[in-house]
Amino acid sequence: MAAVPRLSLHVPEPTVRPGGRPDFSHVGVAPAGEARRPPVDVDPAEIRDLAFSLIRVLDEKGDAVGPWAAALTPQQLRQGLRDMLLTRAYDARMVLSQRQGKTSFYIQCLGEEAIACAHRKALEPGDMCFPTYRQQGLLIAAGWPLVDMMCSVFSNEKDRLKGRQLAGLYSAKEAGFFSVSGNLGTQYPQAVGWAMASAIAGDTRIASAWIGDGSTAESDFHAALVFASVYRPPVILNVVNNQWAISSYQGIAGGESTKFAARAHGFGLPSLRVDGNDYLAVYAVSCWAEERARANLGPTLIEWITYRAGAHSTSDDPSKYRPKDEGAAWPLGDPVERLKLHLIRRGEWSEERDRQMRAEVDAEVLEAAREAESYGTLHEGPKPSSASMFEDVYKEMPRHLREQRQQLGV
């Protein structure tokens, strides 16, 4: 009788850890301009390959090439650059504020700015995003006031969320920005439900759902996809693959054996895998998905390939689990630098204007920070009232909460 081999458990492990040579061969960088652009009413079965390729527009020289090269005006491109620079400057200031004790915690989106900033431009007023904590770019590209965002980060007197939320868990209905939950993945089926409601009501508005690579493992992600597949509501299903989920790499979330974009295939949904550090590609593909949704052709899943250039949050130290120089080896570059290069190639930008714009956004952030800080920071200055803690638990404060508020003496 042949010996039966012993089983062993497969536990995915990244090819590199601290001390090792960064390796991004799994990204599968394809030449810009190579991926085709199907019509928006394409049969999902015909574009399954697009979940494994990589849609890119900007090439190494900074030219926009191929069928996805969108017709963005120089003015739109400069605005895109400004949105990304402003997001970056805002993040840098908030990280600094956290170190100075003005808030307890902060999450930046360094290196991922193009995704939220360009996607926002493909949406219409009235559309609703269901973001994670790393999509501050949606608000900034919508022109939402920085002071308002900062007041929420500082949990101060003017914080519309009354000091209840951790930094980054914004809520801005007017900007089409749904209240961010700290619990991963919950917003994904909610976005599908909002889109179903829009269809039920015979509306024209669409939803945009957001989730990280790690969080696609949550059951809510799969629940959202099954509802999206059954009812085909007008929703864009964004997956931001920034290579990491705190310390765990995408293999742990299931990305070792397939691409996150391919998750959609089991549900019969169209899916595209896209260079998320390419402002033009993000814009073009977002528009494609937006057009499909608006035309009642149903959901699109998009996997945005990017790199979390910073720590997970201010509580995290990535040198413990990934090589320090990993970011430098990232093959898709920096979204800001790539768009800048493109603008320069087109003769629409210069180093001088770039310096000017950076100085301008820095000044804008500084001024906003001064104003927001004058309304208080987490441990200093004016605060939300203690009594407000008991509000909004219910629409009408019930008796037991009124009594508890009295007990607190406020």
Binding site: S8, L9, V11, E13, R17, S104, F105, S155, N156, D159, K162, G163, R164, Q165, L166, L169, S181, G182, N183, L184, G185, G214, S215, A217, E218, S219, D220, A245, I246, S247, S248, I252, A253, G254, S315, D316, K320, Y321, L378, K383, P384, S386, S388, M389, F390, V393, H400, L401, Q404, L408, V410
Partner: protein
Amino acid sequence: MARLSMVEAIRDALDCKMAEDTRVVVFGEDVGYFGGVFRCTEGLQRKYGRSRCFDAPINESGIVGVAIGMGVYGLRPVAEIQFADYFYPAYDQIVSEAARLRYRSGGEFSAPIVVRMPCGGGIYGGQTHSQSPEALLTHVCGIKTVIPSNPHDAKGLLIAAIEDDDPVIVLEPKRLYNGPFSGHPDQPSVAWSKHPLGEVPAGRYVVPLGKAAVRREGRAVTVLCYGTMVHVAEAAASETGVDAEILDLRSLIPLDVDAIQASVEKTGRCVIVHEATLTSGFGAELAAQVMERCFYALEAPILRVAGWDTPYPHAEEWDYFPGPERVGRALLEALEA
């Protein structure tokens, strides 16, 4: 004896059990290579290999579900939920599955699993890093729920939990991971190395499930508490000068009703303190137990001090947290009656 932090004591318990029992496997989000966001599993993957200590996908329902399957097979899985605030997706696996498996299979199958989760506030974690969901667990028959207040008990309870044949939830008050906490955020933090209960014996020992500990003997009033609130109650007693007897329950289910009864019969008064919201909190169960067992010994109404019935706020943390001042007032009020 070594002086350890609570994080080190938990790691030591896992290390000790993994060394002596190859059935013990440890996993959870960021638990493997990194060693957990609170570092409780640091070094275990290096020491015991990737198939005994590994990262899990971000799916709490999956984490508990696979733990149950491993337990059914005959392993002793110890799963970590990164924050207790994130265990709700796993609630179905805990309530409908782990808790009832032995019952519904007539004893044929069981789920000898441990689920560890950091709980409680005091770290400016806002509503999603501060919750104390013990009542959602103690209400479920078929699972046990324990909550240490110091490194010594953290190690002994965790070892007892791993050795227990039923599912055990270990709630770890994260504010205590690196030192005791009196509830005064403005006072300098103290390390466990300065605290007698930071002394942790080497090797295996257990703190039996279902045994409370008297942290402070007293004659005036009994304080029933657990986790962070043990230290807050100690501060309240010393600041008010009330001769309180402080009972650290340690294990909520099973509950040491004998210790509760003995203490309340001695003092005739009872204050119950927990960080979790008041309504339908574990304090309600404790109050009922005291009523049923000690009614004729009571000289004053039972009082509860708890978190307000609101989500856990961020900026208003110290208005929310049932600190020594609120506990102290309750102690004095209990004496007045």
